[in-house]
């Protein structure tokens, strides 16, 4: 080990002391996301076990940091260790040691001022693992190659135990790099298989302690299930990537990635033999491509800029190494660009550990909106101290010191099974009161809660009735009466009433019609006389409407009015094409969660609607 490394480690540890301080900072203000983060911290504090007691997808390092001294110090020392690795790497690649110092301290400033240590530790570990493997690949002919490879794989397994997603990415990227490297060298074959087996076995060895921990806590099975579920969440809770494509953060990363790909392609085109620095560039490109795939599903563009910055630093080293006349100019330009990024350009700063809270005070909720709900409920006669928060004010579980459901919010509980799990929680916990945040009408991505968590919403509105309004919360009490009977209370919150009676199904009827219209063949469709009352009111349970269109260029949304018990439900949805039909499940509309007699179906503007038919489909069908 070089003599300056221990000193540098101490220096980096001192410089990142703020990371240790922020371990106990709360996540304020109490926005939806921050509430989840803060309440996870609370449950770790209460010794709840991730995967068994609660859904926690970020790995035990982040769960136990701030509560367990081992994980706290491990978390804290990871940042200086990663920085030390980058110093070592820059040192190997550059011809001048001063460059290494300049580049490493620039990276430190970037992390400290923009990325934040939490993100740096999470994705930085991924980067470092892949780069270590890349250096190994470069030294393939070393006699201890396979032994070293095994050690790196064990390390990868240990990282997986601490930060699950990071470990998976590193595993996939390393395996990918082995294959790419052997493909470039045209030596794909037995050696590749040997490398993959060695890495796989090492990885499995690395995760043994973690598996033991999970097994002893009775959460091994559910952990595997939660891993599979995580991929489902990513795939089906997708947000558009291209809308945020032109953000400064994204453009910065994509531009550097694009320049690097072009540069390496140019080297290959010229037939120049790739050096270690080019291998490092390829590895970083590979890391960025994998993480950009994640960003395509859920935006993490601002979290990836530091990897773009590292790749930019490596390109700078290569430029300075190859052009000795202008090396000082190149480094000066690099410093200027870095300073501009840090202090001039509006890069998104990620600082989630905000707030003046200490380890002792971070769970003392002072927000009056939450406290007043607690005070009112505690005065209720017969209150058993248990509540359910919908759609996701997890702070209430902290306030009532209650063990939360496995999925603390309806956002995570999007799948059918997850919603059923929440319903079981409500049933078996004997919950008499649901605290419904009526201002939070779409917990995420603009998708109304009655769409995202329709089963759960149905259960709540059919088993609980409005009881009291406290600030932005509607307290629901368990009763067998009809939710909509308490008109007096609902009239006090007209926006919420409008939300329940004006249902926007957007593109769901179009998608259902496009893919599932053929499944209607086995059922008997009947014509609706639009605007005329039915001779005999139609029961709403299991009722579907099928809307057909004429040929039209018009692409306007449509509205159907459904009258039942004197109330009118306004259903809007997007246009369907002439070839397909729109299918609407009436029992997914909040007013029709309970069976009601429908007396009339009419339209606000007939436009290009040709006809409306109705059909009864028993539950358990493939329809949404």
């Amino acid at each position: 080990m070089k003599k300056e490394y221990p000193i540098l480690f101490i220096v980096f540890s001192i410089l990142s002391i703020g990371n240790l301080y922020s371990l106990c900072r709360g996540y304020y203000p109490l926005l939806f996301d921050n509430q989840i983060l803060l309440s996870w911290q609370y449950w770790a504090n209460q010794n709840l076990i991730p995967y068994r007691d609660i859904y926690y997808q970020y790995g035990i390092l982040f769960f136990y940091k701030g509560h367990n001294w081992f994980f706290s110090y491990l978390y804290y020392f990871l940042a200086p260790l990663l920085l030390l690795y980058f110093f070592n790497l820059f040192n190997k690649l550059s011809l001048n040691k001063i460059y290494s110092y300049v580049l490493t301290f620039s990276l430190f400033l970037f992390v400290n001022l923009i990325t934040g240590f939490e993100i740096f530790i999470r994705y930085g570990s991924f980067v470092v693992l892949v780069l270590i493997s890349t250096e190994l690949i470069w030294n393939y002919k070393h006699r201890l190659f396979f032994r070293k490879l095994f050690i790196v794989a064990v390390l990868n397994g240990l990282v997986f135990s601490l930060m699950n997603d990071t470990g998976i990415y590193a595993f996939v990227a390393t395996i990918g790099l082995f294959i790419i490297d052997d493909a470039i060298k045209t030596c794909l074959g037995k050696t590749t298989v040997k490398k993959l087996i060695t890495y796989g076995v090492g990885f499995l060895m690395g995760i043994i302690p973690y598996c033991l921990y999970l097994f002893l806590n009775g959460s091994l099975g559910i952990f595997i299930h939660s891993l599979l579920e995580l991929s489902e969440l990513q795939q089906l809770a997708k947000t558009p990537f291209l809308h945020g494509f032109v953000s400064v953060d994204n453009l910065f990363t994509i531009s550097i990635l694009f320049i690097s790909i072009s540069w390496v392609c140019y080297l290959l085109y010229k037939g120049i033999k790739l050096k270690l620095i080019n291998y490092i560039e390829i590895a970083l490109m590979f890391v960025l491509i994998i993480l950009e795939q994640k960003s395509i599903w859920r935006h993490i563009d601002s979290q990836l800029t530091f990897i773009g910055f590292i790749l930019g630093s490596v390109l700078t080293i290569e430029a300075a190494n190859s052009n000795k006349t202008f090396k000082y100019i190149i480094i000066s330009i690099y410093i200027l660009i870095t300073l501009s990024i840090l202090f001039v350009f509006p890069f998104t700063k990620i600082n989630i550990n905000q707030g003046p809270y200490t380890c002792v005070s971070r769970f003392e909720i002072q927000d009056q909106d939450y406290l007043s709900v607690k005070n009112i409920l505690q005065k209720e006669p017969g209150f058993n101290g248990k509540i359910f928060s919908y759609p996701g004010d997890t702070m209430f579980y902290v306030l009532f010191k209650q063990k939360p459901p496995y999925y603390p919010t309806s956002f995570e509980a999007g799948s059918y099974n997850a919603q059923q799990k929440l319903i079981r929680y409500i049933k078996y916990s004997n919950i008499d009161y649901v605290i419904y945040n009526y201002e939070n009408q779409a917990i995420q991505d603009g998708v109304p809660n009655y769409i995202r968590s329709s089963y759960l919403h149905t259960y709540i509105l059919t088993n609980y009735v409005p009881y009291k309004i406290v600030n932005r919360f509607l307290i629901l009490k368990k009763k067998k009466e009809d939710f909509f009977d308490n008109k007096k209370l609902l009239n006090q919150i007209p926006a919420f009433e409008k939300y329940l009676f004006n249902v926007d199904l957007a593109d769901i009827p179009r998608s259902e019609g496009y893919y599932k219209f053929n499944k209607l063949n086995e059922f008997k469709l009947k014509q609706v006389s639009v605007g005329a009352k039915f001779n005999k009111a139609l029961p709403s349970i299991n009722l579907f409407l099928v809307v057909s269109y004429k040929n039209s260029e018009e692409k306007l949304g449509r509205r159907i009015l459904i009258t039942a018990n004197g109330a009118i439900v306004n259903v809007s949805f997007d246009n369907c094409s002439e070839d397909s039909k729109c299918i609407i499940d009436i029992s997914k509309l909040p007013y029709f969660y309970k069976n009601r007699p429908i007396s009339e179906v009419s339209m606000k503007d007939v436009g290009d609607i040709k006809s409306i038919q109705y059909v009864y489909i028993p539950p358990g069908s493939e329809f949404w």
């Binding site: 799948s415 995202r452 998608s511 949404w624």
Partner: protein, 80 residues
């Protein structure tokens, strides 16, 4: 034999043409995707509700990062 500066100029022209094609056909490509299916018992999220094609962005990203690879592959082929 193509010189260093020449290949750079040709590459920039190639990129401009590619980006122009992508930006002009962007909406048509997006609208050509069928609606996002809703699978019973799974999440109904942004893609299903607002009909945003699930794999459109991945395809777009793939095309973008493959542009240099395609160009230099052809350049190498013609060089031979």
């Amino acid at each position: 034999m193509i010189k260093k500066n020449e290949i750079l100029i040709i590459y920039i022209i190639y990129l401009i043409i590619c980006f122009s094609i992508i930006s002009f056909t962007f909406k048509d490509i997006r609208n050509s995707f069928p609606p996002t299916p809703i699978v019973a018992n799974q999440i109904v999220g942004y893609s299903q509700y607002f009909d945003y094609p699930l794999y459109f962005d991945s395809l777009f990203f793939l095309v973008l990062i493959l542009l240099p690879v395609i160009f230099f592959s052809f350049a190498k082929l013609f060089k031979k």
